[in-house]
Amino acid sequence: MDGMTPLPPSTGQDAELVIAVENLRVSFRTDEGVITPVDGVSFSAKRGKTLGIVGESGSGKSVSTRALMKLLPRNALIDPTSRMLLHVGREKQVDIAPLDPDSKAMRKIRGGSIAMIFQEPMASFSPVYTIGNQITEAVRLHRQAANSPLAATETVGEQIEENILGHGKMTKKQAHEIAVEMLHRVGMSNAGLRVNQFPHELSGGMRQRAMIAVALSTQPALLIADEPTTALDVTIQAQILELMKELQDDLGMSIIFITHDMGVIAQVADEVAVMYLGKIVERGPTRRVIANPHHPYTVGLLRAIPRMDNLTRRLTPIPGDIPSPLERPKGCPFVTRCPKRMAQCAEVMPGDTDMGDGQSVACFLHG
């Protein structure tokens, strides 16, 4: 659409693919006019792998994942040319983009096929219900009676299919057992006791573990983690990241991990997409992008990470602020802050250039 090369065509699809987003464009009608916080973004997530989306506040990373779950405010509009293909089984795909947010199909996907955890574990729980109540709610909405909670033997596709078509509700008792088992699984001691506790009776790290338990209790094919560790202490943060990795190895779900922290991305993501002002400016396997960043914005992000092995080096902040979506530059979105801008940058959006080994960058320096 605007120079982004689409992903490999989805007809010759990879069975490993869980979700493929193509040319997603989300606009909001505001009093000041129409803004487009996500402007033609494509990404995909694979079974058992983690896609990291990194960017500053306002880069559109949260909006694009909330679009996947149709959790956008009423004034949001998903462009009709956008496609969000959720792979259901080997042959079938469901395009989420045209689905009505209030439809039954969408509710089945939400929580069932795609689950989400949020930045603030305290605020993610309602204070007036027990942890167990909120887990069993999810379980009873999406799980059938016969399933064993952690049997990850089926293919992702079958899981999704079951979640979408599933019927035969679980009893409260069965769901309660699964809740206890999940809490135990996410590393809570005394899970049988914790399940009947209220959120305010748990510590921050415990709450985030509980939130992960809620999200994974339905065996989703995709887990969206929206800055899940930002509000936590560094030591707790490491524990939670470790836990998520473990659970991914066991359950095989795909993770989309949103963060502004390149350091976290380096630890968790297999692939990374760097977002700036609604566009993905660089993408590729995490190791390659970190070792060999091409886009000036990615370079800037990496320079802004504190490092223990080189304490004499001063941190280099990226100068300036991310522009408001109302003042989006005509050409490359990063042109207002780029140290290497050229005349054409302000006029034309550069297309994606393939840098080899799956890495690509949208910058005139390289194309």
Binding site: K108, R110, A115, H200, V214
Partner: protein
Amino acid sequence: MSRFIIQRLFGMLVTLFFVSIMVFTIMELPPGDYADRYAFRKYSGTGINVTESDIQNIRVEFGLDRPAPARYLSWIGGILTDFDFGQSFAFETSVNRVVGERLVLTLALLYATLILTYAISIPIAIYAAVRRHSAVDYGLTIMSYLGLALPNFLLALILLYISVTVFGSSVGGLFSPDYVDAPWSFAKVGDMLLHLIVPSLVLAWSATALQLQTVRATMLDELNKLSVTAARARGLPEWKLLLKYPARLAINPVVSTIGFDVNRIFSELPIVALVLSLPELGELLIQSYLDLDMYVAGAILMMLTFFIVFMNFLSDVLLAVLDPRIKLEGG
């Protein structure tokens, strides 16, 4: 939970004890006593000269000569042991008989008003918050400002006029003329409920306007909470979600102000009752003060404060049931 209830119950009893002392003090405050008034009423115009000793005799006859603490003890003792509020001097019968029927009617009005207030304000406010900036929402805001601005007695007169001219019901009172002296029956209760509509509408008017705004504002806050988004992300159907998460918390401010509402209703009741000529307690309270009929006044004050304190207790307990965070702090 049971510890919490017992604590609050104990607090309620302590409050009522102090209230009873205050009420008794108030009963003692007006200059002169019923003996003076009785003598004046009985002998004025008869030409008989009443001496101070005659009045003293009347005083002894009514037991008004004993010291105040002794009279307080026998008064409160009678209430606690026999539910006997003493004698009405003006009506020359027991206070219970004077107050009894009016108490029933006052309570009927109180609960009708509360139910009407909550039944109207809570669902509409929740709807308005969910459909923010819709026609319903704007209409509601206008209505509720009107509700806050319009004085009760004016509304009472307007509704009275409408109910008489349009619906042809009888003017004021709690019963149609046919039923006033009839024995209690289903037909009479039905007639009373019909007559309760206008006064409870009048009394509910401003409270409804206020609660609409409170519930709407709280609901809007709650709707934007991350926990609501998180529940939506679990795939919960929208209406279930709204009832389970934001609506449950949105009624907290309503529940916690039940006591205030009761207080306000009792305060506004006498004026509305005067306009609509309802036989309720407030009007009798004023009359008993004019007559220095202190046991009637005391009984009414005790009953009204009892219901205010009791409804406050009820609201505390309900709030603790609704919000588990409260128990921790309350101990």
